[in-house]
Amino acid sequence: MILQIEDVLCTFCGCLCDDIRVEVNEGRIEKVRGACRLGSSKIMGHNRIKSPMIRKDGELVEVGYEDAYRRAAEILVSAKHPLLYGWASTTCEALKKGILLAEEIGGVIDTTATVCHGPSIIGIEEKGLVGSTLGQIKNRADLIVFWGCNPSEAHPRHTLRYSSNACGRFVPEGRKGRKVLVIDVRETRTARNADRFLRIQPGTDYEIISALRMIIGGKADSLPEDIAGVPRKDLIEIADMMKNAKFGAIFFGLGLTHSRGRYKNVDNALSLVSELNSHTKFVIMAMRGHYNVTGAGQVLAWSSGYPMAVDYARGAPYYNPGETSCCDLLSRRDVDAALIIASDPASNLPRGCVEALGEMPVIQIDPFENPTTLFADVVIPSAIAGIEAEGTAYRMDGLSLRLRKLVDTEYPSDVEILQAILDNIRRLRDDN
């Protein structure tokens, strides 16, 4: 029997598109309609880990779930300062369990934001965030700015659903009713859709933003003719575009957070937007990558008060990015075991950190094999959230949505796995 499921959420990127149609036949997903190629490929599935595994004499050996849970619990109980890392591609419910686990074992929780929009969060701590939901931008924005991001490749449906090419109440013409400005160090596919593309030198974002702030603040005369290789008149033109918009929106990506200046770039961009509101209406939003990296920050914030890098070693949450963030802990060898869930640090962390991970026992919970599997000591395959398990995820604008279960599975969910590990930990502790 073929089942058509409407309005499915795509669990790939921070767009969290919720209008996907999926065709299920005999408990298998046969077709995906309406998703981008990245989303389709995720929903169709690939390279599943077949069975739990434990490393014995250097080789991963298939075992039962109970054995894997017990071994994972032993690792976490005997660790002095374990790291629980990932969380961006699973449900909020899984992270809630993870936080409880971290509290009980005195571990550190950090999310993939640490190597992504972590600097944006620090910028927000400095200046606040002047934002909106994506629908507000779709309905109102007549100027869209993409700064250091490339949605055409990384968030393929963003432009059509929410931003430059969307139709909305006050912009019924869609793309024709909006101006699009792209600021980047190279001409991306997104830049080809722009009315105005400003190419800047790598690492000069901070100077360009500062110059725009000066122009908007009426101090253009104090600027030199040339700012980091950009003629002043070009920036005056761009500042005018911004001031003359009825509703402007800046979307920024890792181009801003991971170039020279990092959180200071974001701080400066947030200030620019705040100041633009003295002239017109303007908002700004980070282009979050993984589909629930926003939710991970939300759950951590309401549970601990902090959105990432939370250390429970003292019994109460302690937060100090630069000290308690994943990369810093690993490079200082300040953690001695790791539980990696729904992420792939082997591919995404700096090399020194990956080497540190290689030196300690690592537990991996993931539906899919990835380079982290290569050095994991316990591998626990899980159901895919949003396909085989229900739960909550937050879109890049902070809107929460419920992921559905589309097909049955033999695999336990991340929540069930974490609960089982927690039960084993409690049992081990009682025995001692």
Partner: protein
């Protein structure tokens, strides 16, 4: 369970400080009971506290937490055998909210503002708040569908939308914040008076407020409309307050309660033409409440020290950020609202702050009927709720007020009537303002009193009302009210000697209002178009699912033929 020998205050049932036993059976107050005996000889016993207006859950709370790691560092308490760890002062984590309310003897708290589209997040946080019963009011004041129904003068469709919106948000009541202003802010402007038309929608705030009030009564909702006035926080805004209340005078309530509840009245009782001649108009507002019977208020008392302002009144937050040179978060919500969050500090030597402080107290002391007043700080806008004992001691002691005024800017004496107010509230009045009145105002029939069948939510304090003189012993009052000797929630002892001893999951209240099917169908066909064209999510993904309310308490309401009472 039997609570023996306490001095009981239960004003809703005409009990004003009598020595009596309270029996609890199956989570409710009963005629008699066995089991555990709690020795409360001579101690102050009252129903569990009810907070009718507090910001405790939802996106703006997390916005506050994320932009204020400095605040989260305050009030850190490690995990215990019973408790998850606590953090924060003005923006506590979810666990701290539940524990701190319970320690004060509070057992119910309502979140005051949630946009429908973001209600799932609100419920995610409410679920994490332990112990207290809770609910959330739903925002309707700048909603496109609401404004279109009002423009078309179609109250049948509006009633259907409000009923549907409450269901979608699993919400408890109709909240209106700076009506129309949230929409105007979509393009960076605001509405300036109740008769200033909302751009693009051809309606005025006055029309929105009246229509929602009429529909609220048509739906027989347990709570009235809950209103945050236009022009809130601006000098001279008391005229807007009175003008708005006058709009609602002739509306008949469908239940034994007010027609409008005014949120944080303090922020709308300002005179003056600017900050320089800013002054209190609390006496004018209190007179209005004394002469009319259709409105109730909560105070929104300010507390000196740090606060985090958070409101769906986004233009106000923009102004706050500019005035205070503070970091500023803004969040516009498609088709429904806008909002903002700005950290704040209230200072004793700042003239405006000193007068604001006086206004809250004046309102409580000059309004004769305590049933019209709920004690709040509009947490965390005026300051965190953990300071309620401070306010109680101020309201009960003129001596304490005098002592405090000495530490404030001198304008507190010339620009408010507080120095001349002799009234000192007694325990019955305090119990009304913190328990009985908020429960009645919210329409929570089983709360705020200790009659047979009421929820067994009881607080017992280490205060001997027959020995203490709150007028002189205000320090003891404050200390005693800060740490309940016992808090009993639903028949379970959750606090003993100021410490949390159990943390059961509370209930979440929401209102399911019935409307005629034909009206609902008519409304839905128009609403579907909104989702096709303007919302950024699908209608089928919009409603809060049952999974987010693990312990729901559904209050039924709805359109019924009104019987004439003779």
């Amino acid at each position: 369970m039997i609570i023996k020998g306490g001095i009981v205050y239960d004003p809703a049932n005409g009990i004003f400080g009598e020595e009596m036993d309270i029996c609890i059976e199956n989570g409710r107050i009963a005629e008699d009971a066995g089991g555990e005996v709690i020795d409360a000889r001579g101690l102050l016993v009252m129903p569990g506290g009810v907070d009718a207006h507090s910001h405790i859950a939802g996106p703006k709370l997390n916005t506050g937490r994320i932009m204020r790691p400095d605040d989260s560092r305050m009030g850190t308490e490690p995990r215990t055998r019973v408790c998850r760890p606590s953090t924060g002062y003005t923006v506590p984590n979810c666990y701290a909210i539940g524990y701190r309310y319970a320690r004060l003897g509070y057992t119910t708290a309502f979140e005051a503002a949630t946009p429908i589209i973001e209600a799932r997040h609100t419920h995610e946080e409410l679920e994490e708040i332990p112990i207290v019963d809770k609910g959330a009011l739903t925002l309707f004041g700048s909603n496109w569908t609401v404004m279109e129904c009002v423009r078309d003068n179609d109250l049948g469709r509006l009633a259907a939308y409000v009923a549907w919106g409450l269901r979608a948000a699993r919400g408890y009541g109709v909240k209106i914040v700076n009506p129309g202003g949230g929409e105007a802010w979509g393009f960076g402007s605001n509405v300036k008076s109740v008769h200033d038309p909302v751009p693009h929608f051809d309606v005025t705030p006055a029309q929105i407020i009246r229509a929602l009030a009429e529909v609220n009564e048509r739906l027989r909702l347990p709570h009235s409309i809950h209103l945050h006035f236009n022009n809130l926080g601006r000098p001279g805004n008391y005229t807007t307050a009175i003008e708005t209340l006058e709009l609602l005078k002739d509306i008949k309530p469908s239940r034994m309660r007010q027609v409008v509840h005014v949120a944080h009245m303090q922020f709308s009782a300002y005179g003056g033409t600017g900050w320089k001649d800013f002054e209190s108009k609390a006496s004018v507002i209190a007179d209005y409440f004394n002469q009319t019977n259709h409105a109730t208020m909560d105070l929104g008392q300010i507390i000196f020290g740090p606060a985090t302002t958070m409101t769906a009144d986004a233009p106000l937050e923009y102004a706050n950020a500019r005035i205070g040179h503070q970091k500023w978060s803004n969040h516009d919500i498609e088709l429904e609202e806008s909002s903002g969050v700005v950290p704040w500090v209230y200072m004793r030597k700042m003239p405006v702050n000193a007068v604001q402080w006086a206004i809250g107290l004046e309102l409580a002391l000059l309004t004769r009927d305590p049933w019209k007043v709920v004690m709040t700080t509009d947490h965390p806008n005026g300051g965190p709720f953990v300071n309620y004992p401070e306010i109680i001691s101020l309201l009960m002691s003129r001596e304490k007020r005098e002592e405090e005024m000495k530490t404030l800017h001198e304008v507190v004496r010339s620009r408010s009537t507080l120095p001349s107010i002799e009234r000192e509230l007694d325990w019955s009045e305090i119990v009304i303002m913190t328990r009985a009145a908020p429960a009645r105002i919210l329409g929570l029939e089983d709360k705020g009193h200790l009659g047979i069948g009421a929820d067994a939510d009881v607080s017992i304090y280490n205060i001997k009302p027959e020995e203490i003189d709150p007028s002189k012993d205000h320090a003891e009052v404050k200390a005693g009210m800060s740490r309940a000797k016992y808090t009993i929630k639903g028949g379970v002892v959750v606090v003993r000697d100021g410490e949390i001893v159990a943390a059961p999951q509370g209930r979440t209240y929401w209102v399911d209002a019935a409307v005629p099917e034909s009206e609902m169908d008519r409304m839905l066909s128009a609403l579907k178009e909104k989702f096709e064209r303007y919302y950024s999510i699908r209608m089928s993904n919009y409603m809060v699912q049952d999974a987010y309310l693990s312990n729901p308490f559904v209050v039924r309401a709805g359109v019924q033929p009104l019987k004439e009472v003779i």
